[in-house]
Symmetry: C2
Subunit: 204 residues, 2 copies
């Protein structure tokens, strides 16, 4: 594909992939835009249009092969091979993330964890043993990791994010409720429950 | 306002409100679309256009009053008064959410928590004392709460969500990595770190 796909479409592909994972778990082999539409609460036409951006995945009348579409979407999103991820900040939220089973099989392994609290260093959570944040740069560079989850307090988030970028991180999932100012080529996504809640209360 | 504002614009208003909160903390009284643009990584023209949907908040040349714009955005998003929220599922993620300070002053108070684990019932996390999930419907109805955060395992999420709807919940923030099938008038937003990560790896 040489044409640029709008970011808003890219943003929906992981949602399709997630639903496909569940349909597969339910033992299904094929699906249709109508079924995806019901699961996702978006129109079937939208789904067909999005998927057609990448060439035709479905055949008229037979729908989509779930294994095939899954494989293709994984390729498009570059999660056909898993990414190693660093977890920066191992407080209560960080611990919950370290133990979260939902990364498995969806393209991500948390392999490094850092915290500034000496009490935390050396402790094991999920698959990680917490390293001191003073070793963050050297450990990240040695590992070649390019994706990090940032779960430090808001007051520290910008400074730590700047350090992550210098250590070669290219994508940051930011849980701190502050907007990071980073070079344009760095990808940042935000997880903030308040933003999602406010987006719903508008309609209540 | 009688005209319908597109959902995509509504989705950006909480982001503006979040940045305004930080600018206020920094001691600023006024801001401009250019400053908001730099903090948010979106175009100043987009921000001006979004805000103009609700009438003019800024004056040419003097920018936006931060307290005024904050107040107006809170009104629009219906967070000028705080909402009581129920937390359903008090596992590691639920505990982290119960202790999270980021809800304060942004329109939400977690006042009820439920879990099916008898070991959890009666324990205090943040401001909540965990109640048995068997009492969920009666407690929700008595409280009149309409917003819930769902942090139960994926295998239980649909059943619990159905129960929440019957108990009067109108908006669910779903942390379980499964798509809920609910009546159309129920608002659902999803928090799934994998979706956000996949959205970034596409570009790496």
């Amino acid at each position: 594909m040489s044409k640029k796909v709008p970011d808003i479409i890219i943003g929906r592909l992981p949602q399709y992939l997630r639903v496909l994972g569940w349909l597969e778990l339910e033992g299904k082999q094929t699906t249709a835009s109508q079924e995806l539409s019901e699961r996702l609460g978006m129109s079937a036409a939208q789904i067909r249009k999005d998927l057609s951006q990448f060439g035709g995945f479905g055949k008229q009348g037979t729908g989509y092969s779930i294994p095939h579409l899954t494989k293709e979407l994984r390729k498009i999103l570059h999660v056909d091979h898993p990414w190693d991820v660093a977890l920066v900040g191992v407080g209560q939220l960080g611990i919950a993330i370290a133990h979260y089973q939902g990364f498995q099989g969806r393209g991500f392994n948390i392999v490094l964890g850092f915290d500034s609290d000496p009490e935390k260093v050396g402790k094991k959570y999920g698959n990680i043993i917490v390293k001191p944040i003073s070793e963050m740069e050297s450990a990240l560079k040695a590992s070649g990791i390019s994706v990090a989850m940032l779960t430090v307090p808001a007051s520290e988030a910008q400074v730590i994010a700047d350090r992550l970028v210098k250590a070669g991180i290219k994508a940051i999932l930011n849980y701190a409720p502050i907007n990071l100012t980073l070079p344009e080529h760095i990808k940042v996504r935000v997880i903030d429950p308040v933003i999602e809640l406010q987006r719903m209360t508008y309609y209540l």
